[in-house]
Symmetry: C2
Subunit: 159 residues, 2 copies
DNA sequence: TATTGTTATACTCTATAACTATA
DNA sequence: TATAGTTATAGAGTATAACAATA
């Protein structure tokens, strides 16, 4: 994690007021904090969000998850394998080649712990935002992200 | 970049309302868009922010930059080397072992292009935010990031 | 054939440790 | 010795291509 070194007072930071840069800085700091909070469970944020999605969507498939989390199916394989290996996830045959994923008994227990850590984490990072403004902020972020995506695909199409 | 695949309507996204998750999603989308916008200059966002910092702080050193950008000095080496190699940066002897970095003539031209791309990029991603709210949003992000950092170091200290 | 899942792989980012050079 | 810079390297995270399995 970044050490909190003081920046030389004479330095000008031209990125200081930039939304894009602060988005990235904040995201890195927040993800790093979440990783620390999850460390006692010996899972990382990626595995934790996998558990959250499966816990809320019992029987969903790997491609359902890849669409929900916007991750490449290939990159989910090692995460799912680890959680199956550790006994948190169970696979059951699904339609076609699909495999339905669900939480085992042990998985439910882990899921409850992850859910709690996520809630605490949210409360912690949300402290700086007035409570009545949080939903608005999340919605705003979602819109900025969606617009960036759309702009990008337009650019790709025009090229 | 993520393909805009539709999520199955029956899927519940438990992360949808989470600030931490949307921060990350948005940051990834925005950075990816910036990378696309910078591609014609054959530099990436990291190299571009290096140029921005040096352009605004003529004669600064590598450790000044690493503090300003919160990057490891070791990770700046290949970026600086590339920009020196391409003729955009010049090195001059500084205090002690320090090296003062500045823009060459060619670097100034590249810097102007980068600055313009950054400005356009900011305008594009800021479109979703009412103009009178942008500074407030950036300040809010900065506070969330700083708090996450502090909380993390407290946790590390308490452990 | 279209969809799903898996393997292998490569590239980027980020982190640490160990080293050199200068005051 | 403290600070600055470099090298080598290891670990995530994320991307693609090629392939296998099922309807």
């Amino acid at each position: 994690m970044d050490k909190p070194r003081d920046i030389k007072p004479s330095m000008i930071d031209p990125l200081h007021a930039m939304l894009g840069y602060q988005l990235r800085r904040t995201s890195v700091a927040v993800m790093s904090a979440l990783a620390d909070e999850l460390a006692p469970l010996e899972i990382n944020p990626g595995e934790a969000s996998l558990l959250m999605v499966i816990g809320a969507n019992h029987g969903c498939t790997q491609s359902d998850i890849s669409r929900a989390l916007r991750a490449r199916p290939a990159n989910l394989v090692p995460l799912i394998n680890k959680l199956v290996m550790s006994g948190a996830l169970e696979r059951a045959p699904g339609k076609g080649r699909a495999i339905a994923l669900s939480l085992s008994k042990a998985g439910e227990i882990l899921y409850a712990k992850v859910e709690r850590i996520f809630d605490d984490h949210e409360a912690r990072i949300g402290r700086s935002v007035p409570a009545d403004r949080r939903a608005e902020l999340v919605e705003l972020l979602r819109r900025i992200g969606d617009d960036a995506c759309i702009a990008m695909h337009c650019a790709a199409r025009d090229a």
